[in-house]
Symmetry: C2
Subunit: 229 residues, 2 copies
DNA sequence: CGATTGCTTGACCCCCATCAATCCTCGTGG
DNA sequence: CCACGAGGATTGATGGGGGTCAAGCAATCG
């Protein structure tokens, strides 16, 4: 079992605010796990009772709409925390998390983290800050969903993926493999619509597609499209 | 100047977790204000540096989309706090707040509140909980915006308004007066579309309209529509 | 190598954004 | 008290975006 106090990942999130002693204690009660692509971390209705720390890999966080389609609410990657909401709420999860590729994760039980929440102000403030950022991002998504066309949203999403999973080098593909269905589920449209728009972008040399690999060729033009031609 | 420790409104939000002493101090540095319908509390880009506590009235919180239309992100009413995000972020506001009717508000400067955030654990946890609830609600809105038709969203919105501003009595109108444009801006559609659907609902006896007054006549059927016929 | 799953493209049609014209409402000033 | 103007509300007409069904194609897997 690896030790939290030696894990570089903690520096990427609020756990970095914990003291050495706190980390040692957390290390003693956490559990590590490997999750294969496609496996489910938790589902809507599950009692989570803890926080996941993503050591490696990416997972999608989804919510089922009442008309039966799954919407991807966000992507969670290496270094992110998952399930912070369970710390301050007794309710069951309203979201589902599914591995998009092979993952390595740690799970920290709620009671242990809550103890630190109440004693370590820096930690609490850091969690608050993360939530504030999430709220702001959620607001942005709401506005985009409500006001922008599917084409704009796709351009926006590609840029966002490029910022998070892209490299400086335009000749390298995004470091994430999403199915067409996943992409459609991010922008909130039918799979066929997403596919059609992707091919249109490809035809215009804005992106290049090779299987599931995505190359962003012209971010500037995409930005232009995302903001409404 | 009224005193916070005697204000009933504080019991409706996280400020209720503050001790008597803390409230007295807050009371000394807060400022109270009346805001007329249509006036702006703050705009995108403003430095807020504090929290608004809504003593009376309702305001809309909006964000401008890059294609130039304003989207209502949420409605804030009596008892709610506004601007919590400014407490943990140095950034300027990404949102705009406009009074929907005449309001009475208090403003508490950031430094004073942050002091309590760091010393009073109950208060901090309460703020965390409120943010967690906001996040959950935001997720729901995202899914609805992404997956549901305008008709479904309108039904959903009417139900939501009914829960928040309605009474048990079906013969009474909602206790909030929104323009058609506001309604359209909540569900993210053109004003004309919202109007058309409202008249359709009225024709089907699901609601009744009288000027800006809205009567919810058949919540059950609306629920049915919101979930997809 | 079948067979299942995911990808792609075509055809069709409905929802909804947009433009335009009219009606209504309310505040203002004569 | 009424007239008038301005902004909001309503309804009609129209075109395009995008959802859906369907069929063909590629890829992955036992």
């Amino acid at each position: 079992m690896n030790k939290c106090e030696q894990c570089i990942v903690r520096k990427l999130n609020s756990l970095g605010e914990l003291t050495k002693d706190e980390l040692v204690r957390i290390s003693g009660c956490k559990s590590s796990d490997f999750v294969k692509k496609g496996e489910i971390l938790f589902e809507e209705g599950d009692h989570i009772n803890g926080v996941f720390c993503i050591k490696d890999g990416v997972c999608k966080v989804t919510k089922m709409s009442s008309n039966g389609r799954e919407q991807i609410v966000k992507l969670v990657k290496k270094g992110d925390l998952l399930g912070e909401r369970s710390l301050v709420s007794e309710e069951v999860s309203n979201l589902k998390a599914t591995a998009i590729n092979d993952m390595e994760i740690c799970f920290i039980p709620k009671e242990e983290i809550v103890r630190d929440l109440k004693s370590n102000t820096n930690f609490t403030m850091s969690i608050l800050k993360e939530m504030a950022v999430s709220l702001k991002e959620a607001d942005n998504v709401i506005v985009d969903m409500a006001q922008k066309t599917v084409k704009q949203r796709l351009a926006e999403t590609l840029l966002h993926l490029n910022k998070t999973y892209g490299s400086e080098d335009l000749d390298k593909p995004l470091d994430i493999q999403l199915s067409r269905e996943d992409i459609a589920s991010i922008i909130g449209t039918a799979t066929e619509s997403a596919i059609r728009l992707l091919s249109a972008f490809k035809k215009e040399k804005l992106i290049h597609l090779k299987g599931k690999e995505i190359y962003i060729l012209n971010p500037k033009k995409l930005q232009h499209i995302a903001e409404g031609f």
